[in-house]
């Protein structure tokens, strides 16, 4: 548990000084509250001895000060600690991204997409509670509790002892019990939540088919059972949470009674002034605020650690490809060859490609065809070095890809087609991805060569038109042409057209392919397709057979 916690804190990159300020503010808030009740108790007890009002001035000023200072301290503390939590969340998100970035796409294939979403969004979000409700409260409790015990002990050592015992019970034992009971349910809840999300996403995606086949019921039943499981765990968590509350009340109440008892006894024995009895009791009563948040903190911590572990599981996956220690200079030529390549994915036993050869001389146009399956996409993954071959080598400018920096390899290729993602943003943003410093004229030229210029001009918002989730607001042909325009904008010498005619009718498909080859100019083109269009435009057709 502690290693996971330490690693998660490392991932959040919070500065120690910020934590210290937050803890100090939290402790002051508690202590001002304790001060208010204790001085008020003293004030009333002293007043009951009917002294001159003037002699109460100090106590009256103290009561007023604590009354004003406490809400202010609380306000500043809450702002400060929330800011801290959000900073931590931002850091976690960015660092998390940096870690999974080298994994995509080959390293993430083993997760269900709904589950992956929960891990990446929900679990990462849940980590914001790590400091706010998990780590802060124990530190505050320690600081404030120590001051309370010290003060009580200064007046009556026995009262200090009873209070110390009560605070340790309420601040350590009770949270541990509550945390242990809630922890298991909390972890399972995170899992159950991911499961339920997956089921719902799947059901909604398949909704029309399920409606037509009248098969809603069995699928709904799966959701109901996932929901029942989540509800069951939530109920168990409630039992544990309620138990924590109950034990806290019990410990606090009995401690106050204990402090009261030893004070009464000390006063009867003459070792304690009578004005201090009520003061000590009220001090003890108020000081339990220091540990009040701890059972919830323990539960939060174990729940958050469940989320945290799921995040770490992703973060811990080692990228299968890396940069060499002494990389070659960027390639000057662009001849590419797969030589005797065998390749596959860790999740599958059999290789997808074996002893495969492919030659892409500069300026050559090659089509990769074959039955539906993963072989063709694997070639693209190998070229872009998302995947390393298990046998043979992929050569660029006569050197193994593994001898170059990954960025230099990828700068050689520009990807277009169905497999290229279209981001839910503007046309402009999608294009600029390929070359962020492109001028307006560059963009126009790329659009013209992809036969999109007239269409973009006809749009009221032009280049700033939003394209929707994965280009959902574009027609199939427009989407393919947009990815082509983006690829043309980059300076890469090799154009990879991965399924550029998917989802297109034959006329549109033929037009898109013709235009793509015309626009490619003297670049090397690798066309990956399962269709006939464009095969007459290439120099060579290579078939990928099932391995």
């Amino acid at each position: 548990m502690t290693t996971a916690l330490r690693r998660l804190l490392g991932l959040s990159g919070i500065r120690v000084s910020r934590v210290a300020v937050s803890v100090a503010l939290g402790a002051l808030t508690v202590l001002f509250g304790v001060g208010l009740m204790a001085t008020a108790g003293y004030l009333i007890s002293r007043a009951a001895e009917r002294p001159a009002v003037l002699s109460l001035t100090t106590a009256i000023v103290a009561v007023r000060f604590f009354g004003l200072a406490r809400p202010l301290a609380r306000y500043v503390e809450r702002l400060w600690s929330h800011d801290l939590a959000f900073r931590a969340l931002g850091n976690v998100r960015a660092r998390f991204y940096a870690r999974i970035e080298p994994l995509a796409p080959a390293g993430l294939a083993a997760f269900r997409s709904g589950d992956l979403t929960t891990r990446m969004i929900g679990d990462v979000d849940a980590l914001q509670g790590l400091y706010l409700r998990g780590l802060g409260p124990p530190l505050v409790a320690l600081a404030a509790g120590a001051v309370c015990v010290g003060t009580a002990a200064a007046f009556l050592p026995a009262a200090g002892l009873v209070l110390a015992a009560g605070l340790v019970l309420g601040g350590v034992v009770v949270p541990l019990v509550a945390g242990r009971l809630g922890g298991v349910a909390g972890r399972r809840q995170a899992t159950a939540r991911g499961e339920l999300t997956s089921e719902i996403v799947e059901l909604l995606r398949a909704a029309p088919e399920l409606a037509v086949y009248g098969a809603e019921e069995p699928t709904l039943e799966r959701i109901r059972s996932a929901d029942r499981e989540l509800s069951r765990l939530a109920r168990r968590d409630a039992l544990a949470g309620g138990l924590g509350d109950a034990l806290s009340i019990l410990v606090a109440g009995l401690t106050v009674a204990g402090v009261l008892a030893v004070s009464v006894a000390a006063h009867a024995a003459g070792s304690l002034d009578r004005v201090l009895v009520a003061m000590l009791a009220l001090l003890a009563l108020a000081s339990f605020e220091a540990v009040a948040a701890l059972p919830a903190a323990a539960r939060e911590l174990s729940g958050t650690l469940g989320s945290g572990r799921r995040v770490l599981e992703l973060v811990d996956r080692e990228p299968t490809v890396g940069d060499p220690t002494a990389p070659l200079d960027p390639p000057t030529g662009s001849s590419v060859a797969l030589e005797n390549v065998t390749a596959g994915y860790a999740s599958a036993a059999a290789p997808v490609l074996s002893d495969f050869d492919l030659n892409l001389e500069p300026g050559r146009r090659v089509a990769l065809v074959g039955p539906s399956g993963v072989g063709k996409t694997t070639v693209a993954n190998l070229l872009l070095r998302f995947l390393d071959p298990t046998g043979g080598r992929v050569a660029l400018d006569n050197h193994d890809l593994r001898e170059y920096r990954q960025e230099d390899v990828r700068a050689t290729f520009a990807l277009a087609g169905q497999e290229a993602h279209v981001f839910d943003s503007t046309i402009r943003a999608n294009l600029l991805l390929a070359r962020p410093d492109a001028t307006e004229a560059d963009l126009q030229l790329a659009l013209r060569r992809a036969h999109l210029e007239a269409w973009v001009e006809s749009l009221p918002e032009g280049l700033d038109t939003l394209v929707g989730e994965d280009g959902s607001k574009l027609s199939g042909g427009q989407r393919q042409r947009l990815t082509l325009a983006r690829a043309l904008l980059s300076d890469a010498p090799v154009l990879v057209l991965d399924e550029p005619t998917a989802h297109l009718d034959p006329e549109t498909a033929a037009a898109v392919i013709d235009e793509a080859f015309a626009a490619a100019g003297d670049r090397t083109v690798l066309l990956i397709t399962h269709r006939e269009e464009g095969l007459d435009l290439v120099d060579e057709v290579v078939a990928v057979d099932a391995a």
Binding site: L79, M120, A211, A257, L285, H421
Partner: protein, 559 residues
Amino acid sequence: MAAFDRRLLQRAREARTALAADAVLGTVAALLVLAQAVLLAHVAASSFDGASLHAVLLPLALLCGVVCARAAAAWGFEVVGRRAAGRILSRLRLDLVERRLRGEPASRDGAESSELAALAVTGVDALETTFARYLPQVVLAVIVPIAVLALVASIDLVSAGIMLLTLPLVPVFMWLIGRYTENRARERWEALTILAHHFADVVRGLPTLRAFNRAHAQADQIDLVSDQYRTATMGTLRVAFLSGTVLELAATIAVALVAVTVGVRLTEGGLGFEAGLTVLVLAPELYLPLRNLAAQFHASADGAAVAGRLLDLTAAPPEPAIRTPGHRAPDLRTATIRLEQVTFRYPGRPSPALEDIELELEAGESVALVGPSGAGKSTVASLLLRLAEPTEGRLLVGGIDFSAFEAETWRRQLAWLPQRPTMLRGTVAENILLADPEATFERVQAAAALADADGFVEALPEGYETVVGDGGRPLSAGQIRRLALARTFLRDAPLVILDEPTAHLDPQSAAHVAAAIEGYRGRCTMLLISHSSELAARCDRVVRIEDGKTVRALMEAVA
């Protein structure tokens, strides 16, 4: 105080007994706190007057008893509250999903499946605080201050007067600031949705980003977006926390005022010590339920923001006209289907997807629907499947208007291959059986063979028992298509609608499928949507659609 959505209260009715029990438990716990205060002050005052420990043993023992009872009541309060909330939430979640599923699945109202799933799980959970804590706390916030004031007044009227003076300020501040917070919380929820969407889009597009060497640059973008989110949220919190602070200030000032006035009156001899001490110990309890309510209010404000969206979606038109009860659809083995002057508009789009469409499907004939992408071919399928209702015009089956009979009795008679079929998580066999759960394994195999799927399925290590779908064994688009086709064939329905059956298939598979479809022709009425002229040519008739309008039949019966 709060602008609380009435519809949420209606939801709460489902667990009203549990919620009422919860409020009672909470009230008992609060009254025990008052008893505790009285006993504590009594013991301290007795000691002040010189009593020995022995003399106060009975009140001390009573104090311990009260503490135990309080603990038990508090436990019950938490457990009962959460159970009640759990029941309501689970209901809400299932309603949302079911409503979505049984409504018009083809007409979207802007909520995408990932957003819906987030709402149904995380969004619904955000309402737990609302039901488990906030609602019972509302009752406590009314009952407890009255009890405290009554008790204090019975001891010392002046202190009760001081408390009464500060009390009305509290709800006023809470109301003012609470309202403001709610709007901000709604904005924050939207920001959160956008943020989640952005992050998901970036992660889905990672391979592309990496291919263009832009993955590193996106890390900065994520940092930037997170930072904007933090700034926006902190803005909300600065205001949200202010109301809590105002409340707490009122509470601490009142305690200080009571302490100081009681102190001064004690020196004058106008009040006894025990009375004064009891009032002081009771003073913070007056504000505690209100402060708890404020804390829950801010926590449940997030929930309320989600709730609006959630309730909008569950309260959508209850049951669309699509489900007219009573009448059974005519037997499609003999009935003719006619689309008369049918127009269809997607909500929010200016131009219709279909305009004045005329189409006739005679029992047993096969018709190919051809035309360029986006011409409206799949929309015709959606209408026939009753996944959407025509905006204008009529659909007649055997001369009877389509809306006159139950969707189920109609759908039972058809099979459909969608353009992008979905594999559910489960085995290959289960996925095919979706079309007819009663079918024998032999029939599943036969259907797979007919769709040319038997070869690759049998080559899988676990054959028909291989788990596919999300998280299962990945399948290529062509493989998914063939399994879905097997599903369609297993149905053995009188009307079969095939939307692009050979797209994404290699020529050999496509030929197999075309042959299978050819073998099927005549066994049922068939509407074939296709780009493939070869496939279309095998049908009895070819109808062309362009720009949502029918262009008359191009080719007359081949058979």
